[in-house]
Symmetry: C2
Subunit: 340 residues, 2 copies
């Protein structure tokens, strides 16, 4: 198997590569289990070395057909398309969002049509394809009613993935990911960035601002669960999908207040009190347009799993990421663990 | 008002121009009634002279940004975007469909953003945005589930029109047109082309092939009704729309057998017997994926009207188009009228 991961220099891309390499084999579009021979991490910046000879980094503009043609060699078996301009930036910079979230997706799909064999194409879609008045919970076949440019671009991607699958150009699967938390590193321009920040910053002894109300509910997933579900979505037989190729990925419905309460239980009052509440209407407008409860019938049938509770999401972050956070934040993690 | 009609050299574009010119004024995006000063008929081929000094033809590739920038002068008030590669061709020639139905729509929308004032943008969408298992009747807010590349491209257009309206770039309205029948002229590559051919050809004393079963139901409109509804959709105040800018345009639900029965009532046995039944699975697959009954709550609230029955659609064709058909077909119309 030759696999390309876009957004491969990012947190999820790197974790996905590690998970695939550890697994050793994946199922190709023909239904055959095959050994992983090469994983290409494609991103606008070069990916860091993950210490495995099967991995290669490629850097450049994803909307550039020449780069994509060169990087998606003709024997590519699978593309995981994770790269995106996040929601807040896509709303503020419309053209940048259209270029990366729509044009680059199109360039990738067009290249996939020209490969030796139709590849699997795993598209990281988003709960942001939904918005406005919706059924509760939101089903796999609920109308696509995005209320942001990011959600619009992801919805268009889903339509293209389905049509190109129907035409036999690719074996596509669009996975609507919940908000991923806790992400390590720095805040980004996702409207949902605070959902990681209000856990990560306090654990590093830094104050964090929460821009939405305590009652705001979100549909979230841990990085570990979402990586497992991306692989499950890849491995599922094409016959397991129904009338479309889009699937709600399992997550956890939790209010922001409950997230901070979980942080308090796991890491103590001193840590949780570092969350400051400063309402930001621009962020709240986007986040509150996203539904917070989903029916994940198809995802569960494919074998996808959600997280048990938010406490375990906080603990997973501490276990998996805090040693690194400690190095950069200078001991905040130790304090956090002591407070737990 | 300065108005641009894409597909302006076509049958509907020309009729729309005549209707607008006869009306004399339209309401701009600011809500003000304004006199029609210029109507530009933009198409891949030059439009024929319609005999009105306010009309100008412009010809070229709609996906060419330079042409579109030049043709959509900065004081353009309204764009009626009717140009499209029809369903059968978009399915057979994927790249041609994507270029015209998606890329050209995008180029037009991008140009509209740069105008002096956000213009009205009336997008001719289609019932083909729906397909597969659907509610019956199909409501305005039913999920977009296209089962053809044409329907996919129209659904993407609706999403872009809505998002750009939400952003304040345009005042967009996506009108999901029923199948228009009876179209004069020659067959085209729309999967639904036969819905005009089985009326038009027999009336011109020519045999016509019907490629779908008598029981196949379709959602149809006369040219006169759809032109009136395009104008009504333009004139409706922005506040009349709900959570999206998409609206099911009223039509008539009729089986193909009923269409031929209406032809028999209006034009006689000799004419109706010229319809020959030769099943074509490629056409039937596309046509039968389209729903045939719609709830048109929003359209009716906006003041849109459907046709009373198919007999009146046949009679309207004879009244409006047969003099011209007679000239080219050499007397078939006379026979048809005699048979009625």
């Amino acid at each position: 198997m030759r696999i390309v991961i876009t957004g491969g220099a990012g947190f999820l891309g790197t974790r996905l590569a590690r998970a695939i390499l550890a697994r050793g084999a994946l199922t190709d579009a023909g239904g055959n289990a095959r050994r992983i021979r090469e994983v290409v991490l494609l991103d606008i910046v070069p990916a860091r070395d993950v210490g495995d000879a099967r991995v290669r980094a490629a850097a450049g503009d994803l909307a550039d057909p020449a780069l994509v043609e060169h990087t998606l060699a003709s024997n590519t078996d699978t593309v995981f398309h994770l790269a995106a301009v996040v929601s807040g930036q896509a709303e503020a910079e419309f053209d940048v969002g259209m270029r990366v979230n729509l044009d680059a997706t199109r360039v990738l799909l067009e290249r996939c049509r020209r490969l030796e064999r139709p590849p699997k194409f795993i598209f990281a879609s988003s709960l942001a394809v939904f918005g406005g008045a919706l059924s509760d919970p939101v089903t796999d076949d609920a109308p696509l009613t995005p209320q942001s440019s990011y959600g619009t671009q992801k919805a268009i991607g889903e339509l293209l993935v389905y049509d190109m699958t129907r035409k036999g150009f690719i074996d596509g699967r669009s996975l609507r990911l919940p908000t991923v938390t806790v992400r390590p590193g720095k805040p980004n321009r996702a409207a949902s960035s605070f959902a990681s920040g209000i856990i990560r910053e306090p654990l590093a002894a830094v104050d964090a601002v929460c821009p939405v109300a305590r009652e705001t509910r979100m549909w979230v997933t841990s990085p570990g669960s979402v990586i497992a579900n991306l692989v499950t979505g890849h491995e599922a037989p094409a016959s397991a999908f129904g009338a479309t190729r889009s699937v709600n990925v399992p997550g956890l419905s939790v209010s922001v207040g409950e997230m901070v309460a979980a942080l308090r239980r796991v890491a103590g009052d001193a840590v949780a009190d570092r969350v400051k509440w400063h309402y930001d209407p621009a962020i709240d407008r986007i986040v509150s347009s996203w539904p917070a409860r989903f029916a994940t019938k198809l995802g569960q049938a494919l074998g996808m799993l959600g997280d048990a509770d938010f406490d375990s999401i906080v603990r997973a972050y501490i276990d998996e990421e805090m040693p690194r956070a400690q190095q950069s934040a200078g001991g905040g993690a130790g304090g956090a663990r002591a407070g737990a």
